[in-house]
Symmetry: C3
Subunit: 319 residues, 3 copies
């Protein structure tokens, strides 16, 4: 004979089990058929250790023999990643009629291909590390940047996720970049194409869209959007280039928005803080918004509006 | 006989214990009388599993019988939540003279009432999931959204917290939404009233105030503030409607601010990126800021300022 | 005889071990010679428990005797922090020729000096707690703020990190503030000098630079930058004052940017939302951007542009 408390709990359980039978998207129950975010997150942290072997101290494998340590780490990542990739491949239509055995084999091949690309990814990360150091007077050393800077962390995770994206792995790349977004406030889609020596400073609020193309030596500050123009197209726009192209040596200061798939920011241009750009800019151009007119008031007396323009353009740089 | 190290430590301890006797707010010592944030966080994660039974794979209960798994999960949440609610109720003045036994009973009743509302919450979450899918060309499927999108995560946690807010549970709803804020950059007060099919894209920097009222099919992008106008009232403003009303089918693009308790954005309106609105907008209006004048400079030669206005209004949509 | 799978893994391992021999910054292998971020994070959480003894319930030490509990906690922090500090001191050039034993002793002395300053830090945190409560109508009580508010959390961690910064401890202060940045979206450099009664509301996107000087009773809202003007100086600017001075009783509303090492915002000034300031403002001045001209369109009919100026200046406050 159940007591009231048990009966109340039973009633809630019964109501929810009934609710799950609604057949809606939210009711889907194949709960072992998706990548495991916790597992993907662990894999990301281990991949960062593999990319920065000296910086990411390993708390699990206490081995003092670094080669052995790295070996164990790589075997561990291959083992777990291939399983997650195989699970994710079920969401790729081209595997619709492939046997489980072949999907498992595909998962392993993709994982190995990905792991073989890590030296190329590391070559890019070395350039990002240099760019962050040279660009930030507050950086006391490279260790500071690898240990602390959200910009380098977001870029590192994005470069890893981008390779899996290029290998047509569903779901996992976005889980990786949204993990980076969650810890850094920097939202870079895994599809974005990014050149060498990429630097993001502070970074909170940065958005880089799926079809963006970014050249070498590009600097981006907090709150910058490299985004799309809405055409209310929604799902019809999948795959179309909706985001800008940023050529080499471009600097984009805080809060600027650059929008649209046809927009190209020419080589060496500098985009001032808060500028709102929706068409192409020629190479070597410095773009700034005309100075805000400020209204100054003391007590009840209006002062004449002040222009900050006389200060030349220094004002449009925000770091 | 203590050595120097022990003596130094003792001195620090003594100084701090002395410091705690200051009788300030920061010195309060009733440290078992508050909700436990870690526990609330665990409850939130379990509630998300209950809301999305197929998507949030359970790492603890390995049961393959889904009904049994969900049953255990619900019983677990009821057990832990009722304890946290009972602790929190001590901060609700109307329980000032209620016995511990009655507070415990109230904690259980509120928890059960909350759990009974989950099917209604899930009905809303299904609409949010649809809105996110239809609104985002980068979404490859519903799984992508449930597994990765910060917007849906923030909305889901907010809808759960809002029900506890409506049940007058102190502290816990805000702990829940600040947890969501911490992992998504989206700051929605648990008091906000939000309709069906709510979508937030990217989301970093979004702020939605306590007394906001948001209709159905509303879309919001990164950096949008639905906020209050300061009247320097501070605590005197508690309870007063300080935040806007957003009617159905409104879209608010990135960086726009809509402010004030008397401000109503009429049905179907579109608010352009970076617009700053402090009074009501009639239904069906498209609002954009007059185009920024951009100053373009190459080398030392000023170019004439360029207006982007000729591009019609496409420019004011940022996604 | 190894199977194909083992051979493939071996090949990846070999390629990566080879890649580590590149002698680049990213290849550095002295992986026990840096502070451990996980450990520093644990220390931060314990320091917050020590600063707010009644609010941060301790999940590890279940002691009901608060004095004993705090004693164990302090001893624990001293033990772990002195090890991390000693590791970090190797990155301070002035310890280049100091013996390991003396570095260990220095680590302990710095740690004890830091711990002795905690009562002074707590005195400041009490003022921040008061400021947050008085400034926010949505705050139902002090508990709400200590348990949930990201602003107070970021300020608390920053005040702790700032003391270690003043003691010339490398790396650790920035690891602490970037941890705060990661969970709050608020990026305050540990070098920033901040007065009493500092309040940050919402906070996502706030950036406060290394050489900023902030007075008493300053209020800052989401998206505010207190930053530098780029002079393309990069590393040459290290140590130079690059960030503004904000005098007492200044309020800076959402999205405003205040830039440059020579910029002083005078006592009691109010900086309106989205204002962009790069030169000094006299005391007692209310600064607002001239009202945006909004373009309203219904169907195909343009309406006359509306100015919001008639609404006086209320519009420039965003909270």
């Amino acid at each position: 004979m159940k007591n009231t408390q048990e009966q109340n709990t039973d009633a809630v359980v019964t109501a929810l089990l009934e609710d799950y039978r609604g057949g809606r998207d939210i009711d889907r129950m194949d709960f072992y058929a998706q990548p495991d975010r916790e597992e993907v997150r662990d894999i990301v942290l281990k991949l960062l250790q593999i990319c920065y072997p000296g910086y990411y101290r390993d708390r699990v494998y206490k081995s003092i023999n670094e080669e052995h340590r790295v070996t164990v780490l790589i075997e561990d990542v291959i083992y777990h990643l291939r399983r997650q990739v195989a699970i994710a491949l079920h969401y790729n239509e081209s595997y619709a009629h492939v046997s489980e055995e072949d999907i498992a084999r595909a998962g392993e091949e993709i994982t190995l291909t990905f792991m073989r690309r890590i030296p190329d990814i590391r070559a890019l990360l070395e350039t990002d590390l240099q760019a962050a150091y040279e660009g930030d007077p507050a950086a006391t050393g490279k260790e500071d940047i690898v240990l602390s800077y959200p910009g380098l962390k977001a870029i590192s995770i994005n470069r890893l996720a981008h390779e899996l994206f290029l290998l047509h792995v569903p779901l996992i790349p976005r889980i990786m970049t949204e993990y980076a977004h969650s810890i850094t406030g920097i939202d870079i889609h895994p599809g974005a194409t990014i050149g060498r020596y990429f630097m993001i400073d502070h970074g909170t609020g940065v958005v880089v869209g799926e079809t963006s193309v970014i050249g070498d030596h590009v600097k981006v500050y907090q709150g910058v959007t490299i985004g799309a123009l809405s055409t209310r197209g929604g799902q019809n726009l999948r795959g179309i280039k909706r985001h800008p192209t940023i050529e080499d040596d471009v600097t984009i200061y805080a809060g600027a928005s650059i929008l649209g798939g046809m927009t190209v920011i020419g080589k060496g241009s500098v985009i001032g803080s808060n500028a709102f750009i929706t068409s192409s800019i020629a190479a070597g151009t410095r773009v700034s918004i005309r100075n805000q007119e400020l209204q100054l008031k003391k007590g009840d007396n209006f002062c004449v509006s002040r222009s900050e323009l006389e200060q030349d353009e220094a004002w449009f740089y925000v770091i």
